[in-house]
């Protein structure tokens, strides 16, 4: 019995909406804006979390980085004068901190790579093979340094993707000879591409064995950075404490002196940046929800006007047999029809703007199939929530006064 009635309501809703196309259109547009904002923000939000995820993987979680110097507090002055690490520090960590997987020295500077008539400024690294594992960076072609190459400081190098494309285009890179500043080196490996990291091109890089760097490029035993990875990929507070204590002792610091080195926990940094990304996303989400609210209030407004204008129609319907529930249903369906049409177009616009905005914000475009359900649920929720007050007003109308309204 009620089915016959329900089948009839949408038709009446469409009739009513068609009767005032401009007003319907404007309301739909306000919903389009709100839904589009929500869809775009959630889609971009997915992109941001995806980006943070890859970023964290790049950093390599379970990695501790030791750097010489301490950033001065309150921003006054530069770093405190501090003595560099040396290879003895690396070995001390290896032998006395428990559960470390690898400890590698890292030194770097800007250098010019030359091959034939091509040349390019790049970042030259002196390190050991374990460094790439610590950064979860695979050697895509060729191989990492052998123990022998590291021991003797062989003139071998591993290059990043940018160097490969700049110098070898499509051709073979392995076995080729590159000159790094004044040092000639043979290419033995090519790193997997990593893309941009902020402003910097992660792939514009050349790595040589630490020993080779020390003897031929730097000419001193100084080490600026030591990278430590923990067994199981998770650095424990005990390990951090042990590391800090060990370095303080080796550097003969008094108990009250501040450390003249920095211990960076990559996981902490990654989590901080993930938290920032999450905060950004939820901020944008809040704005989107506000826009949705405005769209919804647009529906309330239009429906209230519509109820006021159609008092006569409502009264007639009531007098010829409509129950308050029928009137309520009719106006709710009109509101839901408006919000549904709005949300269909809003979803399209939202996905469209996410496609457009993703590259501008440097996040990947990640389309979630859930978007369809989200927008469907939003349409229903907006229509019912914001259509309810006007619909109830219509259902409570007094038929006599409605019939007198000409």
């Amino acid at each position: 019995m009620r089915a016959a009635m329900l089948a009839e309501l949408p038709r009446h809703a469409i009739d009513a909406l068609r009767a005032n196309p401009l007003r319907s259109l404007l309301t739909i547009l306000s919903v389009v804006a709100g839904v589009a904002a929500v869809i775009a923000m959630t889609t971009l939000g997915h992109g941001v979390s995806r980006k943070v995820e890859t970023e964290i993987n790049k950093l390599g979680v379970g990695v501790l980085t030791l750097r010489v110097g301490q950033r001065a507090r309150g921003g006054k002055g530069a770093s405190i004068e501090a003595q560099a690490f040396d290879y003895a520090d690396v070995e001390a960590i290896r032998s006395s901190v428990r559960h470390v997987q690898s400890v590698v020295p890292l030194v770097s500077r800007k250098a010019r790579v030359v091959s034939g008539r091509h040349n390019l400024m790049t970042t030259l690294l002196g390190t050991e093979s374990d460094y790439f594992a610590a950064r979860a960076w695979s050697v895509a072609e060729g191989r990492a340094f052998t123990a022998h190459e590291m021991h003797v400081g062989a003139a071998a190098c591993i290059i990043g993707e940018t160097i490969r494309t700049q110098f070898f285009q499509g051709g073979e890179a392995l076995g080729a000879l590159l000159r790094l500043g004044t040092v000639p080196c043979t290419v033995i490996g090519v790193l997997a591409p990593r893309g941009q990291s902020g402003e910097e091109d992660s792939d514009n890089i050349v790595a040589i064995p630490f020993d080779a760097y020390q003897r031929r490029v730097q000419g001193s035993p100084d080490i600026g950075t030591i990278v430590v990875t923990a067994v199981g990929g998770k650095v424990t507070p005990a390990q951090k404490d042990a590391l800090e204590a060990l370095m303080r002792e080796r550097r003969r610091l008094d108990p009250f002196e501040p450390s003249d080195f920095t211990l960076l926990d990559m996981r902490q940094i990654a989590e901080a940046s993930a938290a920032t990304a999450r905060m950004m996303t939820s901020l944008l989400g809040t704005i989107a929800v506000l826009m949705l609210l405005v769209g919804g209030l647009g529906i309330t407004n239009v429906m209230l006007v519509s109820v006021a204008e159609r008092r006569r129609e409502i009264a007639i319907r009531m007098a010829i047999g409509a129950l308050p529930g029928h009137i309520l249903g009719q106006f709710l369906i009109e509101a839901v029809a408006l919000s549904t049409i709005g949300s269909v177009f809003g979803t399209l616009v939202g996905v469209g703007s996410a496609v457009f905005l993703a590259p501008l914000l440097q996040v990947p475009f990640v389309l979630d199939a859930d978007v369809v359900w989200v927008s469907f649920a939003m349409a229903l929720a907006i229509g019912v929530t914001f259509g309810f007050a006007p619909a109830r007003r219509a259902a409570r109308l007094d038929p006599i006064s409605g019939l007198r309204a000409a």
Partner: protein, 238 residues
Amino acid sequence: MTTASPIVALRMASKTYGRGNARVEALKSATVSIQPGEFAAIVGASGSGKSTMLNLLGCLDVPCSGSCLLAGVETASLAVDQRSRLRRDTIGFVFQGYQLLERMDAWRNVELPLIYRGVPPPERGRRVERALDAVGLIDRARHRPGAMSGGQQQRIAIARAIVSEPPLLIADEPTGAVDAATGDDIIDVFHTLNRTQNTTVVLVTHDERIAHRCGRMIRLVDGRIVSDTPTDARRDAG
């Protein structure tokens, strides 16, 4: 007059509108009782309270004091929803001034009461057709109200009122906007329903001639019932 329980009855029913200086006593202590199968006319000058009384009888409104019993139920004691149900199940309305929905054609206007009563489509179609046929406008089914003459609109409004086959038909000046011949046709439709289906009819008219075709005439002056008498039509029939 039979002594069966009335289909609708007012007892000392009053209705006032407005407050203070604007206060109007539209109906004053009206007592009237309509038996099933009766055909009654309410007459009176403009502003005498005819529509007001009809709205009470039709359960569109409730009295300020006194009582209105529709199908044995005190209307003022009902919740809005129950009152709507009672109205839906007992009454067919013809309003002063047609009150058709402009956006729908004649067919859909007439169909509407059946939709609210949950009548399934095939049955709906048959009944709409019968109602339009009864008022002689089956060939105008797909016209919108705006494309019809006043008399035609009035007849569509009547078709809409009778389509649900209500036990009580209430009509506010159903012949007000039509010529004498059309008016007679409309009263014929009511008479037929009254005779064949025992539909109770209460109508308002300004036209004494039409009032005399009804079995009973209730006269209002200034909100008060001043006479309530059987007519020749009734004496003839009786």
